[in-house]
Symmetry: C2
């Protein structure tokens, strides 16, 4: 269970947000998920209009999966949901930032966030450990 209650938004607020989001020609906007209390950048994924609406209505992060070409309610398979704390849009409306409370891990590899590859000693290294063996919770799914 998430540690805190989800932030949900009334219809008028969702409309106000949608009016400021500039979706790209594919109808998508990049969405950054950040852990609200630590500042950790967890992942970046994409939202279509419906994903923005569902995320803001339910207080649970929903995306559009470009690989599966389908809505992606994060955590449906893994249980690793993201509870929305705040939903923000940037100056020119082409990126959104969600402060969330991550249940479990954000990354499908079982690491807490997706940005675990960096240069160390001149080579690309994995700088964060696998925290959860995703094969043990069913599928290596998001």
């Amino acid at each position: 269970m998430p540690d805190r209650a989800a932030t949900t938004y009334p219809a008028a607020a969702i409309e106000a947000m949608l009016a400021e989001v500039r979706f790209d020609p594919q109808g998508l906007v990049p969405a950054i998920a950040q852990q609200h209390d630590t500042g950790e950048v967890l992942m970046m994924a994409w939202m279509d209009r419906n994903a923005v609406v569902e995320t803001m209505q339910t207080g649970r992060a929903c995306y559009w999966s470009r690989s599966r070409k389908a809505p992606w309610r994060k955590g449906d398979t893994s249980g690793h949901i993201q509870t929305v704390v705040d939903f923000r849009v940037d100056c020119d409306g082409d990126t959104v930032l969600m402060l969330v409370d991550q249940t479990g891990v954000a990354c499908h590899t079982g690491r807490h966030n997706c940005f675990f590859r960096a240069i160390r000693g001149g080579k690309l290294e994995e700088i964060a450990p696998v925290q959860i063996d995703m094969t043990k919770i069913g599928r290596t799914e998001y």
Copy 2:
């Protein structure tokens, strides 16, 4: 002047990073800039291959401006450069995360970061103040 020395990378490390970055059909990858010590998400912009190389070679964030269709060495006009602390790539290679030390402000509006619009009291509000009057430093430029 930035508070800390830039992280720069040798050619082999840049090649190793480039081998993992999946540029989109336009040859671009989203790049998130995060203040290294506070965790503040400053902005999201786009890099082409040359921008990745220049950023990693020089230790200063460079992007591709989609609006101007040109390389964008952030801070050339404003002086608000981003000194690279760490350059990371995500699990599937389609987003990069830079930990940086921001000089001045990241946002062209004069706010410290670009994500200053959120719902408060059911309405879209500006939740961060303008810190620098960008018209006084020449242009309202990045």
